[in-house]
């Protein structure tokens, strides 16, 4: 694939344009599919322009953390599958994959959208573990937003299997996973001192700094992560907050629509 150079992307942005003719705060077309993997307790496919992620949720039973003996456990993992990009390499998750996982995890966890206490089977001994695995299948930028959206969609459609005599009965379900809120993570990037949403890969390669802000249904912030090598001013962060609230609402409407 031929990619626009960093300097070209920057020059366009300076002139108020983007490589694919979008407005600065405009997302690419988002397509959402649910329950596409039969063996997963919850799943979702997100297409955000050419970015393609698949999220699967597997439920299992295990031990709780010692500091939260009466709560289920949420584990988010991201695989940057090598078929998604020539820059992805096989092997254990690298720092980029780990950052994506942890930023998405924070948005979900801190919004308290999952009632983890209801996932306790026996205090201190057995709780449900929610394993969220995000597979990036085609990388054209903005993996955090796409992965976070896939995660919440998959969780909203996750069913808890039956648990009998110490064994999980896969394929037979007890109830839905209790999800009380819909947190949405929105990343805003700074290129040539302008702020943009939903960067594609070419734009990501040209960014100075980025900030991801997750908001809940009440338009409160629940997680934040600044990234990239450059800096942001307070004014830029305030603008990013406003964009996150606005875009979060838009995407939540797509989800509910």
């Amino acid at each position: 694939m031929l990619e626009a150079s960093e300097s070209y992307v920057k020059k366009l942005v300076e002139e108020g344009m983007r490589v694919d003719n979008r407005k600065f705060d405009q997302f690419r077309l988002i397509k959402i599919e649910k329950n596409i993997i039969k063996n997963a307790e919850g799943s979702a496919r997100i297409l955000m322009g050419n970015t393609h992620v698949l999220v699967g949720v597997k439920m299992s039973v295990g031990e709780p953390f010692t500091d939260t003996p009466n709560e289920g456990v949420l584990i988010v993992n991201t695989e940057l599958v090598p078929l998604a990009s020539p820059t992805f390499e096989p092997g254990p998750p690298n720092e980029d994959a780990i950052e994506i996982s942890r930023v998405i995890d924070r948005g979900i966890r801190e919004s308290k959208c999952i009632d983890l206490e209801s996932l306790c089977i026996e205090e201190g001994k057995e709780v449900w573990l929610i394993n969220v695995d995000i597979h990036v299948l085609d990388h054209d930028g903005n993996l955090i937003d796409a992965g976070a959206l896939g995660t919440i969609v998959a969780l909203l459609n996750t069913k808890i299997p039956k648990y009998e005599n110490g064994k999980v009965v896969f394929g037979e379900y007890e109830k839905n996973l209790p999800v009380r809120d819909i947190p949405i993570a929105i990343t805003t990037v700074k290129i040539s001192d302008k702020l943009l949403n939903d960067p594609n890969l070419e734009e990501e390669n040209a960014l100075d700094a980025r900030i991801t802000l997750a908001t809940n249904e009440k338009a409160e912030l629940c997680a934040a992560q600044k990234g990239g090598e450059g800096y942001l001013t307070t004014e830029e962060i305030e603008k990013a907050v406003n964009l996150s609230i606005l875009k979060g609402k838009e995407i939540r409407n797509i989800l509910k629509g």
Binding site: P93, A223, Q225, K226, Y231, T233, E238
Partner: protein
């Protein structure tokens, strides 16, 4: 949802559990040049949180395929000593440590003149010897001082601190139980005392107005940290001159 062992109130009459005011740091300890072998080193403490940073380089980058012919490459590694917390930490990189190493690297990258050192690598090691919240900020403060002592050309220092929300109040420098039981925790770093934010990570639910208030308090905090860093550096070089004179 009450957490186990959570005190009923975290703020009483404008004072926190350890007696601090809302906008007050724990005692700060800053010391530059504490290791002999490293090119630069520093200690930074927020109360009981104890971070040590050491810098090696700029030196020839190995492995060579990671060399950049135009500029230096920064490698940053944050780790916690196994005995630094109540429950022992397994040695080796955790996902948390890998993420923190990445964000510290990006924060420090803002101030280093990489073009001055082509083909080289600069290694920054941050070790948390004792943890009592705000470890990444303590580590970042120490790392930026260690880079300065190593003589790496920089446009400024990086100054970092945390802010939090306890019982609805915005507080500076989250410490101890506040980290575990507080509502919100925000790690923040800026280029010196400038309005240039290079690290920001937050967990917990806040309204927009509170979030902006937290950032403003963090900026004030960083300005205070910056003063301390500058005076620690001056202190170091004051004694340095005397040593040269007496030899």
């Amino acid at each position: 949802m009450s957490k186990i062992g959570k005190p009923e109130k975290m703020v009483i009459d404008g004072k926190r559990l350890d007696g601090r005011g809302l906008e007050e740091f724990r005692p700060l300890t800053v010391e530059v040049g504490v290791l002999k072998r490293a090119g630069g080193s520093a200690i930074f403490k927020f109360g009981d949180t104890y971070a040590l940073a050491g810098v090696f380089g700029p030196k020839t980058m190995h492995p060579r395929h990671l060399q950049d012919p135009q500029k230096a490459v920064l490698r940053c590694k944050y780790s916690m000593a196994p005995f630094s917390t109540k429950e022992r930490i397994r040695p080796g990189p955790s996902r948390r440590a890998i993420e923190i190493s990445k964000v510290l690297n990006k924060a420090l990258s803002n101030v280093i003149f990489f073009e001055d050192y082509p083909k080289t690598g600069i290694d920054v090691f941050v070790v948390i010897l004792q943890a009592n919240a705000s470890t990444r900020c303590a580590g970042l403060n120490a790392a930026s001082l260690a880079l300065a002592e190593a003589g790496v050309s920089m446009r400024n220092l990086i100054s970092a601190c945390t802010v939090g929300k306890l019982d609805g109040e915005i507080v500076l420098d989250v410490g101890g139980d506040e980290d575990q039981f507080g509502d919100v925790d925000l790690a923040f770093a800026s280029i010196g005392n400038e309005d240039k934010i290079v690290l920001l990570q937050m967990d917990g639910i806040v309204r927009k107005e509170e979030f902006l208030k937290m950032i403003n308090l963090a900026k004030k905090g960083c300005a205070e940290i910056y003063e301390k860093q500058i005076s620690a550096l001056k202190e170091k070089y004051k004694t340095g001159e005397e040593d040269v004179g007496s030899e």
